[in-house]
Every structure is written in structure tokens, then in C-alpha cells.
């Protein structure tokens, strides 16, 4: 087994708010192997975007790390000073955001920004940086890269902007690419094209990709392994085929069952999960999913659930799952 390129170890993170500290991540353990595509699935508020931000060392000003580490190639990036963190970003790890409009400055051309992103490439001249940016735009499928370099962000369509954002993230050939809801703002046709592009790029650049999304279809299309999050915890980790065909955690099962795309027969009523996420200012002592779970027993409400290994690389955080 090769060394993971990125590993999150027992990470707990809280957001300080006037109403108390919100426990956004609670003891998360997750690792990403070189060249692997890992999907992080879950509903709004489950902590998946917080995890993505923590992976790149940008958890936000009101975030407090309560315990744990994020190791990137052996270094604990949360412990590094801001300058050292900044030097890792781009070169070692890069990020693609949901809304590519806000990822770029509206007052500079795409070309100027793509050259700026290579500021750490000390040996390269401005002309070389321009050329590698242009080549990367051609690689991500922009039909006229020279023209696109001279455009401002608002002159490109959403799909084109997302392609440029991916090109920008790959410019420095990072080992890990983190994509937070990369297709959520796009039409289905653009979504299919971005999925296809990420697949090709992974083969070309051998970088590991972490896809954070609530869209189970995107994960099924793209990922090797999936981590399902609920209320700040990873409740199930599995190879992609096992997750969709032999899910073990009741939350994963409920999530798959209520996806309208999973129901091909026309149904008058769709299954729902019911209930709400627990208040993470005061996390429950037992299983966080117990109040919404159909399998819950009294034990689930009081004792924290164990992590049960059900197969190699497949585990679930649940009292009721048996190996």
C-alpha cells in the first residue's frame, strides 16, 4: 500500500459563533491515496465543505481546531505558518470552487490571473508563464485559448469559467486537487462535460482528486472511493461500487433511496428521510442519526456508535451494523 498523499487524522473543528461553538467536524479520519478520486458526500450542514477547506488549510477566521492534523506529504499543514501554507497551495494542493465567478477577480483578464497564479515559479519568465497558461486552457477544452486569455471572467459562460478554474488549479501540477461542488452551478450537459474532463485530467496528471458534493450521480460517475458525512462525522467509507450496491449505514441507505434519479419508475410519492440535523452547538452523546433512523434502538441514543469494519476498505459508524 502506498503512502497516502493527504491524510486527515482525528480532526475536530468548531466554529465560534455568538450562540456557542458549532462542532462542524467531529473526529474525522480520512486519507487520500496518490492518483485516487475520493468523493465526499452528504447533505448541507454535514461538514463536507468545512472538511474541504480544512484540507487546504483555509478553515476560516472563526474556526478553531480542537484536535487532529491534516498531513500533506508528511507535513501537518494546519501547524504551518501562513507563509509556508501559502507556498504549499498551488504546488502541492489546489482547489476548485462551486462558483467559478467568485474565484476570479472581475477586473483582470483570465490571462493576467493565470500568470499571477504561477508567481511561485521563480525560474520561469513571464512569457513562459503565459505560454503554459495558454496551453493549459487548450488542454481543458477551450476552443480558442488565445482569445480566452484576453477575456474577463464575465465574458465567459459558466461552463467555460469552470474549465478555466480547473486549468488554474492544475497549472502548478499539484498532487491533490480539491473540488467543492464543481458542477452544482452548471446545466446537465455542462456537468457531463466537466465530469468527463476531470476523468481525463486525472489520467494525464496523476493527481489525486477529492470531490465534495451532495450529488450522488456525480460521485458514481467519477470516484473510486466515497466517504459519507453526517453531522460532522464520516459515517461510512466504502469503495464506490460497494457504497451504491451494498450500503451499510442507515443514513447512506436513506440518502440513496430518496434520490429522485434512483427511482426510474414514476412514483406519486418519493421517500424522504424526515426529521432534521441535530444542533451541533450541543452534539448528541449517542449516534447523531438516531432520531431520524428507522433501525435505532435505545442504545443508539445514549452510547456513541462504534466504527465497524465490514469489508476491506469499507466501514460504517453504527451500532446496528455487523461485520
Amino acid at each position: 500500500m502506498s503512502e497516502p498523499v493527504l491524510s486527515v487524522e482525528n480532526l475536530s473543528l468548531g466554529y465560534v459563533t455568538p450562540e456557542g461553538t458549532v462542532a462542524a467536524l467531529r473526529g474525522v479520519n480520512l486519507s487520500v491515496d496518490p492518483g485516487e478520486v475520493l468523493g465526499v458526500a452528504g447533505e448541507s450542514g454535514c461538514g463536507k465543505s468545512t472538511l474541504a477547506a480544512a484540507m487546504i488549510g483555509l478553515p476560516g477566521p472563526n474556526a478553531r481546531i480542537q484536535s487532529g492534523h491534516v498531513r500533506l506529504g508528511g507535513r501537518d499543514i494546519l501547524a504551518l505558518d501562513p507563509g509556508a501554507q501559502r507556498r504549499l497551495r498551488g504546488r502541492e494542493i489546489a482547489m476548485v470552487f462551486q462558483d467559478p465567478m467568485t474565484a476570479f477577480s472581475p477586473v483582470l483578464t483570465m490571462g493576467a490571473q493565470l500568470v499571477d497564479f504561477q508567481a511561485n515559479r521563480d525560474a520561469a519568465s513571464g512569457r513562459e508563464k503565459w505560454r503554459s497558461a495558454r496551453d493549459m486552457l487548450a488542454r481543458v477544452g477551450l476552443s480558442d485559448p488565445d482569445l480566452s486569455m484576453r477575456r474577463y471572467p464575465h465574458e465567459l459562460s459558466g461552463g467555460m469559467r469552470q474549465r478555466v478554474a480547473i486549468a488554474a488549479a492544475l497549472l502548478m501540477r499539484p498532487k491533490v486537487l480539491i473540488a467543492d461542488e464543481p458542477t452544482t452551478a452548471l446545466d446537465v450537459t455542462m456537468e457531463a462535460q466537466i465530469i468527463h474532463l476531470l476523468r481525463e485530467l486525472r489520467a494525464d496528471f496523476h493527481c489525486a482528486i477529492v470531490i465534495v458534493t451532495h450529488h450522488l450521480g456525480v460521485i458514481a460517475e467519477l470516484c473510486d472511493r466515497v466517504a459519507v458525512m453526517y453531522a460532522g462525522e464520516v459515517v461510512e467509507v466504502a469503495p464506490v461500487d460497494a457504497l451504491y450496491h451494498a450500503p451499510r449505514h442507515p443514513y447512506t441507505r436513506a440518502l440513496l433511496a430518496c434520490d429522485p434519479a434512483n427511482i426510474t419508475q414514476r412514483a406519486a410519492r418519493l421517500p424522504t428521510i424526515g426529521g432534521r440535523l441535530p444542533d451541533l452547538r450541543d452534539p448528541p452523546s449517542g449516534c447523531a442519526f438516531a432520531p431520524r433512523c428507522t433501525m435505532a434502538t435505545p442504545r443508539c441514543r445514549t452510547a456513541p456508535p462504534p466504527r465497524v469494519a465490514v469489508a476491506p476498505g469499507h466501514n460504517a459508524l453504527c451500532h446496528e451494523v455487523t461485520p
Partner: protein, 331 residues
């Protein structure tokens, strides 16, 4: 049965304007000769990518967008003059795509749901009872009435939007991307709510969306738009089982399925929807169509009746196999 909403040959054009054409002599066609009808109690889904004219059509139906040709009628009465639209506005309602942003941040949920009564000067009776009644209708507790929009979750904001749309007991609800941006479990809740309300009040829905998984469960009929032109329409089941227009086929094929065993190796559709500033000649879809032939580049296909309530706009009769296509005899 007469249609609740009947649209014939609707055209929406806007002035070109801009730097080179300040007088707006050039006209841009947003919707081109669109005909649709919606029966009472029916749900029709308008499907297409961004820029296909779905939202413009909704705005035109509500009188918020000037039209430049064609006729519209609601419940048998023509919609032409501004007064006509005002008269029907009590019987139509719009559910906005961004539910939280469509609510005033300074109005409580209770005030927001009964605002339509004030706007239309409808006697309201007991305010408190009416608020509780409307909130109960969409499955919200009465104490939600005192909340402000920023205190709501995405699903709750969507429910408030539904309550507001239903306040005056409309006959037609136009829902613009009713589940965009919601989690799957909340999506299912909103769709169930819409189905319940339809059964209870006999509503008709016009659903505007690019989410095909949603359409399959709620709509009886689908109309697919491409660059403001209807390319295919028909019953939902028939279209999903046997999509005939190459654009409909690629839309269905592009939808990512939540099953890793059904991964697609190839891309269903390439390129992007062209800008309306550069509307392609001939068939608008020819720039992205896998079947496109010489004829598609200069000759615009007409909408053909395929029987069983299906219509399709393509030169080819057999669009299901790439090799076995047959050109329609050209007049």
C-alpha cells in the same frame, strides 16, 4: 376539455441595441413561434439548458415580458392587454428559483404569506387564522410565522414560497426550478408537498427545470426547448422511454446516474448552447447534433406530429441509430 392555458405561435423579440446598434434595429429572437397548451389539473415541464428561453416564457405568460407575436389565452380569455394579465394574476402564482432571496428580509414569514391578500385587496378575515392555515398547508408549524427569512433553512424557505404562492388559491402555479440547490431528501419533500397540494386543490403546474430526474416524477407532459424553439413535446413516460429528438436524447443521456456500474465512457453531448446573438441557420441544434447533415445547416425543420400527443422537430425520421437514419422527403 378546454385548455387552462393556451399559447399559439408565441414570439418574443428584443431590440438588439448595444454599441454598434444603439437604435436597436436588429431584433433578437428569444422565443420563436412557440405553441403549448396546459389542461386544468395537468403538470407540464419545460426542459432545456440555461439560455433556452424557459424563464422568458414564464415571464411572458405572467405579462412581465412584452411579446411580439402570437396569442395566449388563460381559461378561454385572451391575454393581450396589460389589464388582461392583471385580471388573471390572482389565479396564477409564481414560485421563484431562489426562495430565500424572493422573500423580503424585513418581513416575517407570517406577513410574507398573507401579503398577496393585501396586494390584490382580497378580504382576509382573521389574519392569525389565515397565517396558521397557510403554514399548515405546507407543513410548517404556526410558530414559524414570527421568523425572518434568514432564520429559515433552504427547504423551509421553499415551503414559505409555496404557501405564498397558494395564498389566493390559484389555478396555475408556475414553478421556476422548484428544487434547485436543495439536498436530495429535501427535494423529495418539496416534490411530495407539490403533489399533495395538487391533489387537494386541483392545481395545474408549469415546471421550469433542467433537472430531468425531477421531471420524471412530477410531470405528465414534457416540452423541450432549445434556443427558444420547441424541439420535442409529449407524455413524460413516452419521452423517457423513447426520446426522438437528438437533443432530448443527449439531455437524458447526460444525466449522471447514481450507479457506478452505469458509468458512461463517452460524452453524450459536446459544446455549449450557442448565443442567441449568433443563432445558427437551419436547425439550431446542428452545431452540436451527432446526426447533422448538409440539409440541417440551411433548412429549418418543421414541428412534425408523431401521433399519441408527441411532436418533434427534426429532419430525420429515425433518430435512434446513428447509421440507420432516413431523411424525410424534402419538399
Amino acid at each position: 376539455m378546454t385548455a387552462l392555458l393556451d399559447i399559439r405561435d408565441l414570439r418574443v423579440e428584443v431590440a438588439g441595441g448595444g454599441w454598434f446598434d444603439p437604435a436597436g434595429r436588429g431584433r433578437l429572437t428569444i422565443l420563436a413561434d412557440l405553441s403549448l397548451s396546459l389542461a386544468a389539473g395537468e403538470t407540464l415541464a419545460l426542459v432545456g439548458e440555461s439560455g433556452s428561453g424557459k424563464t422568458t416564457l414564464a415571464r411572458a405568460i405572467l405579462g412581465l415580458q412584452a411579446t411580439s407575436g402570437g396569442t395566449m389565452a388563460f381559461d378561454g380569455k385572451p391575454l393581450a392587454e396589460p389589464g388582461d394579465f392583471r385580471a388573471i394574476r390572482r389565479r396564477t402564482a409564481l414560485m421563484f428559483q431562489d426562495a430565500a432571496a424572493s422573500l423580503s428580509p424585513r418581513m416575517t414569514v407570517g406577513d410574507a404569506v398573507i401579503e398577496p391578500f393585501a396586494i390584490h385587496g382580497v378580504p382576509i378575515g382573521n389574519r392569525r387564522d389565515r397565517i396558521a392555515e397557510l403554514l399548515a398547508e405546507v407543513g410548517l408549524a404556526p410558530d414559524m410565522a414570527a421568523r425572518y427569512p434568514h432564520e429559515l433553512s433552504g427547504g423551509q424557505a421553499r415551503r414559505v414560497g409555496v404557501a405564498r404562492a397558494l395564498a389566493l388559491k390559484p389555478a396555475l402555479v408556475i414553478a421556476d426550478e422548484p428544487t434547485a440547490g436543495l439536498d436530495v431528501s429535501v427535494q423529495a419533500e418539496i416534490l411530495n408537498l407539490m403533489a399533495d397540494l395538487r391533489a387537494r386543490h386541483g392545481l395545474s403546474y408549469l415546471i421550469i427545470t433542467h433537472n430531468l430526474a425531477l421531471v420524471r416524477h412530477v410531470a405528465e407532459r414534457i416540452a423541450v426547448l432549445y434556443l427558444g424553439r420547441l424541439v420535442e413535446s409529449g407524455p413524460t413516460g413516452a419521452i423517457f422511454a423513447d426520446p426522438r429528438h437528438p437533443y432530448t436524447q443527449s439531455l437524458i443521456a447526460a444525466e449522471p446516474l447514481p450507479d457506478p456500474r452505469k458509468r458512461r465512457a463517452d460524452l453524450a453531448i459536446r459544446g455549449e448552447i450557442p448565443s442567441i446573438l449568433r443563432r445558427p441557420a437551419g436547425c439550431e441544434f446542428h452545431t452540436r447534433c451527432p446526426l447533422a447533415d448538409a440539409i440541417c445547416r440551411y433548412d429549418r425543420p418543421t414541428l412534425r406530429d408523431l401521433g399519441q400527443g408527441r411532436r418533434m422537430r427534426c429532419h430525420f425520421t429515425d433518430t435512434t441509430t446513428k447509421g440507420g437514419r432516413h431523411e424525410l422527403e424534402h419538399r
